[in-house]
């Protein structure tokens, strides 16, 4: 039963919904939280998360470790992350292929990295350190990016494959990030997914994005503030049908809707997982 539940669709846990979730106990597979929201000593965040955790499996998604910082990960942060992980015993722990801290200053965003051998060595070393301290495998997420650098040496999919092989980490495939980056850099998201090392994927993220038009040019921005686009749903359906079922999360972090709207997105992902899972079962 538990294993089934972990292959289901889950939702990001938002403070707006937690009372309702505890009362109504909706039929969703699991919840995910941002680790950094649970690094305080006490209060309502821990009060509600403890109760939700008693009812549902939990995934902890870090957004502040700064695994790609050349001058070292965010000081003291790995210890804080370990406290959250030890306390809540999540079935997945994940972080991002990005950086956000420089010389002790925290730039509250997931900033892009140049894909070079030097970056790969650095990130692999940091992932190894994180996995050693946490005592478990973590998943690293492909980012949404808005610019690329001069002198890059490999595509993102090769970088992620090499990172997984070198550090033993798993990957979190964010299909919306693929669509956002593909639009911003002019590549085909299906070709990207064709090259993606799916054998390392332990979780999938789905979210909404914005399209900012100016002077005839469009930039896609990863906003997590709306429903998931038709293109993302279509790519997700293909990935699941061809590569197998993965625990899948709906992320909705800004302009958070009433619970039924978020639950509808979760159920839509769930039905895609079930259809593909059913096909798998018949084939086996």
């Amino acid at each position: 039963m538990t294993a089934d539940r972990l292959l289901r669709a889950g939702a990001g846990l938002k403070p707006e919904h937690q009372r309702h979730i505890l009362e109504a106990r909706p039929d969703v597979g699991w919840f995910e939280v941002h680790a950094e929201n649970y690094m305080g000593a006490g209060g309502p965040p821990h009060h509600f998360l403890e109760r939700v955790r008693a009812l549902y499996p939990l995934s902890v998604h870090g957004v502040g470790l700064s695994i790609g910082s050349a001058n070292g990960m965010a000081p003291g942060h790995l210890g804080r992350l370990k406290s959250v992980v030890d306390r809540y015993q999540p079935f997945i722990v994940s972080e991002h292929l990005a950086w956000s801290t420089h010389e002790g200053t925290f730039l509250n965003d997931l900033l892009p990295l140049p894909y070079t051998e030097a970056t790969l060595s650095l990130v692999a070393r940091h992932v190894d350190e994180a996995q050693t301290v946490l005592g478990r495998t973590i998943l690293i997420e492909n980012p949404s990016t808005y610019l690329r650098f001069d002198g890059e040496e490999m595509p993102e999919t090769d970088f992620l494959r090499a990172l997984a092989r070198r550090s033993g980490c798993g990957l979190l495939l964010d299909v919306n990030n693929v669509v956002v980056s593909a639009a911003n850099h002019g590549f085909d998201p299906r070709a990207y997914l064709e090259c993606f090392p799916h054998e390392h994927v332990g979780e999938i993220h789905l979210a909404g994005h914005a399209v900012l038009e100016s002077d005839g040019d469009a930039l896609y921005v990863d906003t997590h503030d709306r429903t998931i686009s038709a293109e993302v749903w279509s790519l997700f359906r293909d990935v699941i049908a061809r590569r197998g079922v993965r625990p899948t999360l709906i992320e909705w972090d800004a302009d958070v809707p009433a619970w039924p709207d978020l639950e509808a997105e979760v159920q839509r992902a769930q039905s895609i997982l079930q259809t593909a899972g059913g096909l798998d079962a018949r084939a086996a």
Binding site: G43, A70, T105, P114, E117, F149, D150
Partner: protein, 265 residues
């Protein structure tokens, strides 16, 4: 980008990138591809905006009454100045804003609202109380259970979420009217100062006025001073200090967690 095996090329790039993100007038750093449309200025602008807008939103959520008193646009402009001067030092965003009240003290464009920094202190204390450690509040009935001879030497332990903000301005009145009333209202010129007590006995953060002298009582109790000595210190400074009223307020708000006898540490 010069890709060097020791990663120093990446360190240089991140140094330039970080400064250009925070300092709006700085040009887009070298090393970013420019042979593509949209322009690299627009692309870099997404990161600049993500960083600044998310931090300004975090401050607005943390200081809603300050925002209401100065208006949305003014608050955002003020927040952007603060963010440039005091960027976050931790990825735990809940810790961001501790310097905001002191920043407001020296922010000339807001000088016509002299109570603004103390309102910010009150809102920051509420935010800290929300995330602070949990503890069970003691009932005032436990004082009555003590034998009379033990009352004076009892030491009262303060709740970790408790904070006291003394102000020459009526900060509790200003905060209350701008939190619960439809129309924001500035304090009248002759209003007197108020001392705010912030507590979180369970899930909800509470704000109330402390009676005169009670802040001195709390300061003494926080030092581990026994109740009678703490009350004497408060009475010496405030003629109108009333111990029974002060204790009723403190216990009622869940500010006290423990009653103990014995020497202070």
């Amino acid at each position: 980008m010069p890709a060097q095996p020791d990663g120093s090329g990446l360190a240089d790039l991140q140094h330039r990138f970080a400064h250009a993100v925070l300092q709006a007038p700085l040009a887009v750093p070298d090393g970013i591809r420019h042979d593509v449309r949209p322009t690299r200025e627009r692309r870099f602008g997404v990161y600049r905006n993500n960083v600044k807008a998310s931090l300004a939103a975090a401050l607005a959520a943390r200081f809603p009454v300050v925002e209401r008193l100065v208006g949305d646009e003014f608050f955002t402009a003020m927040a952007l100045v603060f963010i440039e001067r005091h960027p976050p030092r931790s990825p735990v965003l809940a810790e961001y804003g501790t310097a905001f009240a002191n920043f407001l003290e020296g922010f000339d464009p807001a000088a016509d609202l002299p109570y603004l920094p103390d309102i910010a202190r009150l809102e920051w204390s509420r935010h800290v109380a929300f995330h602070s450690a949990d503890a069970s509040a003691a009932d005032i009935g436990r004082l009555a259970e003590l034998p009379p001879e033990a009352l004076g030497s009892v030491r009262l332990g303060l709740h970790p979420a408790m904070a006291v903000i003394a102000s020459p301005w009526p900060i509790v009145s200003v905060w209350t009217t701008n939190t619960h009333d439809a129309t924001p209202e500035a304090p009248a010129a002759d209003w007197t100062g108020e001392t705010a007590l912030v507590t979180r006995p369970h899930l909800d953060v509470l704000v109330q006025r402390l009676p005169p002298g009670a802040d001195l009582l709390v300061a003494e109790l926080a030092q581990g001073v026994a109740l009678s000595a703490a009350a004497e210190a408060a009475s010496r400074t405030h003629d109108s200090f009333d111990l029974a009223t002060a204790l009723a307020t403190l216990f009622g708000a869940g500010a006290i967690t423990t009653l103990s006898q014995g020497s202070s540490s």
